[in-house]
Symmetry: C2
Subunit: 150 residues, 2 copies
């Protein structure tokens, strides 16, 4: 089974609300993770995407990306969101697509190294939801990973 | 039908994911709105509440409170989240309870007045999820309301 399918199964098995939201993995290339969900199960009173659903896709795009990087490094760790900020600029009126990309800096290598050597690491990631070339929602999240015995 | 039931029905009818999350209105006293949801449909890979669900309850506690204040003032307005920040300090391992209270300042009166007189208002609210006397998640949200013809 490929990485995308495994991550999607993990989401739906371990975080059941992602199944109700119909979240799927659109793309993973080792550096960028793109999650998608249809509008309908995530709609709000204005016929646009609910802010809570947009946030869930954004926070999971970062979480999923780090989960995959930790797994590729052979590290078993619990990964949690610690701080977040989000700015909603445009309403999302169609399929939701959240994208998180690792920074160009060696930041995520330091993060993986810290988790491996000290049992704990933190990293800040940005993610976004675009409508065409325009940013609809911008997200910044600080994640913490702690090694487990698993 | 009382205010709590009407708001709960609005959530479930217009924002269907709130039904999957099993969100209910625990309390509204004209100044404070408390929303609740069971852990099970909102659980994550660590057996605690998913950060996206916690965020959804927090953002809706502010949204619901402002929706009720606008309705009490006889104002028809679309209400949207514009900016948010959240800090997750403790994992939530039981029933989720999000609480938003109007500030003591006349801030919300200015907000209602702006929406009534100019057709648009913004307001910043804080909300939280407590575990006993300890804060598990702190939320700050800036909301925008725009009058509708409805």
């Amino acid at each position: 089974m490929n990485t995308e399918t495994l991550l999607e199964e993990l989401f739906h098995a371990k975080i059941p609300i992602t199944g109700d939201m119909q979240i799927s993995i659109a793309r993973y290339d080792g550096k960028t993770l793109v999650l998608e969900a249809p509008l309908e199960p995530n709609i709000n009173d204005k016929g646009t995407a609910f802010g809570g659903s947009l946030f869930s896709l954004l926070v999971l795009s970062g979480w999923g990306l780090l989960h995959l990087k930790l797994r590729e490094a052979g590290v078993n760790a619990d990964l949690m969101i610690h701080k977040s900020s989000a700015t909603y600029t445009l309403p999302v009126t169609d399929r939701i697509r959240a994208r998180c990309e690792l920074p160009d800096t060696p930041e995520h290598e330091r993060f993986i190294h810290d988790v491996q050597s000290r049992g704990r690491g933190t990293i800040k990631l940005t993610a976004c939801i675009m409508i065409g070339t325009r940013t609809a929602v911008e997200f910044m999240g600080t994640y913490v990973a702690k090694t487990t015995s698993g």
